[in-house]
């Protein structure tokens, strides 16, 4: 039996959080697989582990009091929060740290208080708390910890046990989970985090069983998401590529990449490693990859050029502060162009499967160099991070809760730089509801949703976030979804085609729609978004 301390000091606290983060990261794929819709979307496991990764970065001191270290971790988490699950997690950590703000070390009773404060902070972060989610699991952990009179290890163990029991009950609380045959992904993330910390304290291996639905074997969908652009630097080259080999050493490659580039994400296994990094010179990065294996899917974007092009287009004078500016999240080069074209000052790459962090968004608001910034998250899983960014931002920042790209475009069209930010916020918010948003993508696993059987690999269409139909081809899914809309004469359908479709594919699909609905206008724009064959607006 290892030594179980009666008190946790600063360095041990840090080790526990690190161990929790490692456990979340190790189980990220499995947590991702617990999504309700079998489509590529804001992956909970990735979002939580990326949030934790920034929580425990170099800004956290190696030594210090529990108060100092927990505060530093909470600050990092608030900045790094990605996706709604990451934001809620960061609020837990903030609440936890708040309760320990006077502690040089913490004992069992301090921990009990911190758990209660963390659960409370989580509930406060969510506008309309829903039970059966990670909030419920965290709240159960806090309740489980309360009656324990004992050392930190007993408190943590009780919290974990209660969290696991609550997690198992989440499908009873949320019918969508029961139908999808999964437990809540965010709740699973909390359990993984606690399991990692408990194992560290007990000097054992984390014991975790995650029952995931059958999922496509291809690592593509999961790993690509790790390539979430991090838009924290507008300069240099955004360099992405895949290394293929037989015995790749992931950790070693990660270390090498981090040594020569910033904003690095390196993920994969011993055969496929995906690299995303920002560097002044992409050459050494590619050479490094070539030394380890063969290269594939090389994509290099000049962020300087993007920046300069933007500045020129919009007549910006370097350093000149503007009164009001829009920052928009856009999941693809074509969509970025459209948002800039319609008057957004800055775009942040991100969307489904690549949720930007609160810090990415806060940095973009700073770059907009405006007195007032209006943020368009354009994805329901980015809204909370945008709200967090608005709080972090130094300028006055308003979030217009756009849940989709079509809603974001609609809101941006209502923007008028001559008007004040309050009037703009009102106009833009009321524009959100004037458009319906559709998506066509490919199912990443088989599932039954709302009684509709979906086979892995089928094209699925969603309308306003709900499953519309599953068909063999994207073209059929598009027609199926629009049939359900009930198009009126004079309606406008706009197709933003993704990276998987060619301009010719999109035109052919548009032609079919015009033939079927002669009274409806159909417009086609290049979106370049990943995974989603089409983003569709109907108005």
């Amino acid at each position: 039996m290892p030594d179980r301390p009666n008190c946790i000091d600063g360095p041990l606290f840090r080790r526990l959080v690190e161990a929790g983060a490692r456990c979340v990261e190790a189980n990220a794929d499995a947590i991702n697989a617990l999504n309700v819709f079998p489509v590529p979307d804001g992956d909970t496991g990735i979002n939580m582990s990326l949030t934790l990764r920034t929580a425990i970065d170099e800004r956290v001191p190696a030594s210090g009091t529990v108060a100092e270290i927990s505060q530093a971790i909470a600050r990092g988490a608030l900045l790094g929060a990605r996706g709604n699950s990451g934001v809620i997690l960061s609020q837990f950590l903030k609440g936890f740290a708040g309760a320990l703000s006077h502690c040089a070390e913490c004992d069992g009773s301090d921990l009990r208080r911190a758990f209660a404060a963390a659960a409370n902070a989580g509930y406060q972060a969510v506008g309309k708390p829903v039970e059966g989610t990670m909030l419920t699991v965290m709240s159960a952990a806090a309740e489980g910890a309360q009656p324990v009179e004992g050392p930190p290890s007993s408190v943590l163990r009780a919290a974990l046990d209660a969290a696991e029991r609550a997690l198992a009950r989440t499908p009873e609380q949320l019918p969508v989970l029961a139908e999808a045959g999964v437990v809540d992904a965010g709740g699973q993330g909390i359990v993984a985090f606690l399991a990692g910390a408990v194992a560290e304290l007990e000097d054992s291996e984390p014991r975790l069983r995650i029952d995931t639905p059958a999922r496509a074997a291809s690592a593509e969908v999961v790993s690509e998401a790790f390539l979430a652009h991090t838009a924290d630097e507008m300069y240099g080259y955004c360099t992405q590529f895949v290394i293929l080999g037989d015995v790749l050493d992931l950790d070693r490659i990660r270390g090498e990449v981090m040594a020569i580039a910033g904003s690095t994400v390196v993920v994969g296994d011993d055969q496929v490693v995906r690299v995303h990094a920002h560097a002044e010179d992409p050459g050494p990065l590619l050479s490094l990859g070539l030394r380890r294996g063969t290269l594939d899917q090389i994509n290099i974007a000049n962020m300087d050029a993007q920046h300069v092009e933007f500045m020129l287009r919009h007549g910006y004078v370097a350093g000149e502060r503007v009164e009001i500016a829009v920052v928009a999240v856009a999941p693809g080069a074509g969509l970025e162009r459209l948002f800039l074209d319609q008057g957004a000052a800055i775009t942040v790459p991100g969307g489904q499967t690549m949720n930007p962090s609160a810090a990415d968004l806060a940095d973009a608001t700073a770059r907009a160099n405006a007195e007032h910034v209006i943020l368009l998250p354009n994805n329901s899983n980015v809204i909370m991070a945008a709200n967090q960014a608005a709080e972090l931002a130094e300028c006055a920042c308003v979030v217009i809760p756009s849940c989709s790209v079509p809603e974001g475009i609609s809101a941006l069209l209502a923007f008028n730089p001559e008007l004040d930010s309050k009037t703009n916020a009102t106009n833009m918010t009321s524009a959100l509801g004037q458009v319906r948003s559709g998506e066509v993508t490919t199912a990443v696993r088989s599932a039954i949703i709302d009684g509709v059987a979906i086979a892995e690999g089928q094209a699925v269409a969603l309308l306003d976030g709900r499953l519309a139909c599953a068909c063999e081809t994207p073209s059929e899914a598009l027609v199926g979804m629009l049939t359900g809309v009930g198009l009126s004469n004079g309606a406008l359908v706009t197709l933003y085609y993704g990276a998987s479709r060619s301009a010719g594919d999109a035109e052919a699909d548009a032609h079919a729609l015009r033939t079927r609905w002669p009274e409806v206008e159909v417009e086609v724009y290049e979106g370049n978004q990943p995974y989603y064959h089409y983003l569709v607006s109907v108005e």
């Binding site: 074209d341 069209l413 106009n427």
Partner: protein, 276 residues
């Protein structure tokens, strides 16, 4: 001695209203090639838009001559009247210059008002002034009424395309909306005497809805006028929807030939004069 109101044909003021309120309308001229037509005299709004759509070249316009104004002013002067002359923004037309030049030699008092607006904005100001004149107010008082009305005016309008404003050189700050990747219907307003962008929508039904919302937000009003190119049905429907925002009947009128050269046929807009 009384006060007489003079305006120009860019006010889009319907003939029956001008006649009833004793407002003299000085026409601008629209040219199809070499053919010169007096706005509202030689060519009606409907006839103009028919020709506009069919014409291979864009028609040109010209402001009234000094002589046109001098003739009108001289007649009122001969009858022993003073004049308040109410016109389109001088950033949009040279009409005011002609009026000013003519005013110098009239032998009576001519008060010139730059309404900083166009179309029914000008008409609503002229109508307010005409009513004051009918009540027997002095030229100073009538001019004050007109200037106060100018401060109460708003106009929002939507065009199908910015092409006409651009080719006609009247696009003003709406320049910013040109050349976009996304097809849009620009929502515009006249502000500080120029055309400014106000917003963008993607379809005409939304444009109409947006106009409605914008007008509704700013109410109540003394008067509302809906103006259009070739969309009397849309205009009538909008007028009905806005009827509760003003005690007066909502006016509906077509914009006329000269304004039509710059807006194109698809224009629809709402001019309002807010309550005191």
């Amino acid at each position: 001695m009384a006060v007489r109101i003079v305006t120009d044909s860019t006010s889009s003021i319907p003939a029956d209203i001008a006649q009833a309120l004793d407002i003299t309308v000085v026409p601008l001229t629209v040219f199809f090639g070499d053919e010169a037509l007096l706005d509202g005299v030689d060519i009606s709004s409907d006839a103009f838009f028919e020709r506009l759509v069919a014409s291979p070249v864009l028609p040109r316009t010209s402001q009234p001559s000094v002589a046109q104004f001098a003739e009108v002013y001289a007649k009122h002067a001969a009858d022993g009247h003073e004049i308040v002359s109410i016109h389109i923004s001088d950033k949009l037309s040279g009409t005011l210059n002609s009026a000013r030049a003519a005013a110098g030699d009239t032998g009576t008092r001519v008060e010139i008002i730059d309404t900083e607006g166009a179309s029914f904005w000008v008409a609503l100001v002229a109508m307010a002034a005409a009513r004051a004149a009918h009540e027997g107010k002095s030229a100073d008082e009538v001019a004050a009424v007109a200037r106060k009305a100018v401060g109460q005016m708003r106009v929002y309008f939507v065009v199908d395309t910015l092409e006409y404003l651009q080719k006609g050189g009247r696009i003003g700050k709406a320049q910013a909306l040109l050349g976009g990747l996304l097809s849009i219907k620009p929502l515009l307003r006249v502000h500080e005497g120029e055309v400014h962008p106000y917003g963008k929508v993607r379809t005409r039904p939304k444009a109409l809805q947006r106009l409605h919302e914008l007008v509704r937000e700013g109410g109540p009003y003394q008067e509302i006028a809906v103006l259009h190119g070739t969309s009397p049905e849309d205009a009538a429907a909008l007028a009905t929807d806005l009827g509760d925002l003003t005690p007066s009947p909502v006016l509906v009128a077509s914009v006329g030939a000269v304004i039509g050269v710059y807006t194109g046929p698809g224009v629809i807009g709402v001019a309002t004069r807010r309550a005191d």
